[in-house]
Amino acid sequence: MIIAERKPMPEIMEMISGIKKLLILGCRGCVAVCSAGGDKEVNIMVEAITLGKKLKGETIEIDQDVLVRQCDPEYLEPLKEKVKEYDAILSMACGVGVNFLAEQYPDTLVLPALNTTFYGANLSSGEWKEMCAGCGACVLHLTGGLCPVARCAKHLSNGPCGGSVNGRCEVDPNTPCVWQLIYDRLKRLNLSENMRKIMPIRDWTPSGEGGPRRRVREDLLP
């Protein structure tokens, strides 16, 4: 799931200064689950902006809506005409949503309300953790399912760096060293041998280093 978080209010207020009519658009996808851009957060944003504007003695007309997903054309289609009425859309989706809106509504200013951060898992209500970097070359079969790319500060492929102390990461001691975790897990699974396998030098092309990625499946195309 994509994890995102609300931008600080001053940044948002800054973005929308001068905007008279605003559509705040939420998304019921990942950002709803990570409580950054669902219905509830849209409501909060509406009130926060109204209050912020009131404080400045300005007025703003705000409409709000929440789409099932902002990353699918079928959900954006119905709004196509309506969005023209607005000076701007404040998207509360992840960056994908913002991009996609911008592409779909060429004449409308689209602003991001969130900072999109990572692919993560819900640890509990209100706590998320990065688990995948979307590198395009999965090695999880070798590492007991724990990703050294996403979860090692240095993206190391062949064991921990010299800074791993007592199973903690050198970069952030609050984070466990993923290589320690991988070691413990392989041992438990009687796969310690895996540690001995030397991983080849990583090809970073699929990770986006080769430019924006695109995937097509012929069998599915219309």
Partner: protein, 149 residues
């Protein structure tokens, strides 16, 4: 306008107090500018409702009165409410509003006196803070700075 300390909205849980404010106002215990809103549980409170009290309902200060943390009728309702109050404080700060304008009070159940005390505490905070929208001149300033930015 400038004389009034400002409006206080209190969100009270059903179990905290079912009091209606008319007799309190009639008895001169609370000024007209205090308003109670009753909820089935403060756990029901949304951050957006707390913000709306300021943005739409003209509150200059807001308080939430819920059951003592360990005695909440719905176990964790008032604890949730206090977290939401904290988050609201953060948003207020981000918007440049004094976070003291909103507060959570844990009060013994079914007692009105502590709720009245909470309202009075907010009123006394307003004595210092003044209304949330400063006088006209300030408004203009705000406007100008907005434009300038």
């Amino acid at each position: 306008m400038s004389d009034r300390p400002g409006k206080v909205i209190g969100f009270c849980c059903n179990y905290t107090t079912q009091v209606t404010e008319e007799p309190l106002k009639e008895a001169g215990i609370l000024p007209e500018s205090v308003e109670f809103k009753r909820l089935s549980c403060t756990g029901k409170l949304e951050v957006s409702s707390l913000l709306a009290a300021f943005s739409r309902h003209g509150a200059d200060a807001v308080f939430v009165a819920g059951c003592p943390e360990e005695e909440c009728h719905n176990f964790s309702g008032s604890r949730r409410a206090s977290k939401r109050v904290k988050y609201t404080k953060q948003i207020l700060s981000e918007l440049g509003i004094e976070p003291e304008r909103i507060e959570m009070f844990f009060v013994p159940r079914q007692e009105t006196e502590p709720v009245v005390k909470a309202a009075k505490e907010m009123l006394s905070r307003l004595e210092k803070l003044g209304p949330i929208i400063k006088k006209d001149s300030n408004n203009k300033e705000g406007n100008d700075s907005g434009k300038a930015a």
